[in-house]
């Protein structure tokens, strides 16, 4: 799996660099207008686009066919993409934390609570979206999967809103906002793992030509 991860890092390297620089610029630039920690919502979502660049590249170069003949199982191939997705989301989070940290040093109000809240929303959105779009990238052709990829972020926002509303039926979200979004985060993590399991199962039987 390590070799495939190295390959994906090579493919996505320039995209990752552009994302890091953009997030830095956004972080510092938006600090005058918005709460800097709100960047944590955007950062993991933006960072994970590199996974879809690698999936598209695998299809275009027919690497996805070549790799099946190599000593790596189909579930490892899928697992690597899910792992790459998580790594990129975490990298995005870490990048967004840099302007937050720097600005906090200069006296800008960045609280741990806001970091946890926005971080939780960002990771939940990313995992829910990935849980939809990653299996679809292996089920549909590249054009359709790009549409699914874009739609998945809208869908994940809708799912989060729905989950928060449902939580509100159990306890008041306004008074327990962090707890509510942590609950959403847990559901998102479970969904992401279920999605991996489904994707691996589907890919196992798929003809690669």
């Amino acid at each position: 799996m390590k070799g495939v991860l190295v390959k994906d890092l090579y493919i996505a390297r320039s995209n990752i660099l552009v994302t890091i620089v953009s997030l830095m610029v956004l972080g510092f630039g938006l600090s005058f207008l918005l709460e800097t920690s709100a960047l944590l919502v955007l950062a993991p979502v933006v960072s994970t686009t590199a996974v879809f660049i690698s999936i598209t590249s695998d299809g275009a170069s027919k690497w996805n066919k070549n790799i099946i003949t190599m000593p790596i199982s189909r579930s490892q191939i899928i697992g690597e993409k899910f792992l790459f997705y998580i790594l990129l989301a975490l990298l995005g989070m870490l990048t967004a934390l840099i302007p937050c940290g720097v600005l906090a040093c200069f006296g800008v109000d960045v609280t741990l609570r806001s970091l946890c809240l926005y971080g939780s929303i960002g990771i939940s959105t990313t995992l829910l979206a990935g849980g939809i779009s990653l299996p679809c990238a292996y089920l549909f052709d590249p054009e359709k999967s790009q549409i699914v990829f874009m739609m998945s972020f809208m869908a994940s926002t809708g799912i989060i809103a729905g989950l928060v509303l449902l939580t509100n039926l159990v306890f008041p979200v306004k008074e327990n906002i962090l707890l509510a979004f942590n609950l959403v985060l847990v559901i998102s993590i479970i969904w992401f793992f279920i999605s991996y399991w489904i994707a691996a199962k589907v890919y196992q039987k798929r003809d690669i030509t």
Partner: protein, 283 residues
């Protein structure tokens, strides 16, 4: 003699194509050429043997094992038409990828092959010509101590000089009796040079699987006119075609036929001609 690859009763159905109980073997230390027209089922056979597509029926045994696990895949080198490597990578970066995939990856062999083929190690693959990409794919296939090489139309679209280099490499590879090659191609002249056995697939079925020498030395084409054609014993005919100038008849015992019909003109048949008569001729 053990078989590096044994395919038995391989079946796969698509909407418009049916691979029908394909069976053949690749004996250890030999080169087997898989021939057939485009769409005959060569790639489907290879894809099914390699587990790229799900087979409906049949058994594939590679290096003595029916389960195609990581250990077996370590020992198989596969080359498809085109490089099939991410084009953004350079051969040097590809080395870093491959050494983390294959336990048996041999960097020294890989770089010496790059040197032998005059392939630049820092240039991205996207800047390579088709011949260079093919040489790179072959270098990679040779760099993890493969025991079985499978090449699917790997020489198509290459110029004769590069093809000749590649054929020489394949011949060198099978000098070790543990090494074997299955090569599919519709360039039959290449297979005439290197193959020990020829498997001919037509419309998803194996028409014949024979030693190449038997085909070259025993098969022939009887050329005759209408009267002579009518006088022929039908059991001597494998396939025939009516041409503008007479009849072409594929026969499997050149010497015997020449003795039986001393006035007939019997000439050796190339694999191309054998394939053409099977496909286009009548039976």
């Amino acid at each position: 003699m053990t078989n590096a690859l044994a395919v038995s009763g391989l079946t796969k159905t698509y909407e418009d194509f049916h691979l029908d109980h394909v069976s053949f073997t690749v004996p250890s230390g030999s080169i087997v050429g898989l021939i057939g027209e485009n769409g005959a089922g060569k790639s489907t056979t290879i894809n099914a043997a390699l587990g790229l597509i799900q087979k409906e029926d049949g058994v594939v045994s590679i290096l003595g094992r029916e389960e195609l696990d990581g250990d077996i895949k370590e020992q198989i080198g596969v080359v498809f038409d085109g490089s099939n490597y991410p084009e953004i990578l350079s051969p040097r970066k590809l080395n870093r990828v491959m050494k983390n995939i294959y336990r048996t990856w041999d960097e020294q062999t890989y770089f010496s092959l790059l040197k032998q083929f005059s392939l630049p190690s820092e240039k991205p693959i996207k800047q390579f010509s088709k011949g260079m990409k093919m040489k790179l794919a072959i270098s990679a296939a040779f760099s993890h101590h493969s025991r079985l090489l499978i090449l699917d139309e790997a020489t198509s679209g290459l110029d004769p000089v590069i093809r000749d280099d590649i054929l020489d490499m394949l011949l060198d590879f099978v000098q070790d009796e543990e090494h074997s090659i299955l090569v599919s191609s519709h360039i039959t002249s290449d297979l005439e040079k290197i193959a020990d056995y020829i498997v001919f697939i037509h419309e998803g079925k194996v028409v014949f699987s024979k030693p190449k020498d038997e085909l070259i030395e025993q098969y022939g084409i009887l050329k005759c006119g209408a009267a002579q054609f009518d006088a022929l014993d039908r059991s001597d005919i494998i396939a025939y075609r009516k041409m503008d100038y007479g009849w072409q008849i594929l026969i499997s015992d050149r010497e015997g036929i020449q003795k039986k019909y001393p006035k007939a003109m019997v000439v050796p048949a190339s694999i191309d001609e054998i394939m053409l008569l099977y496909v286009k001729g009548e039976k």
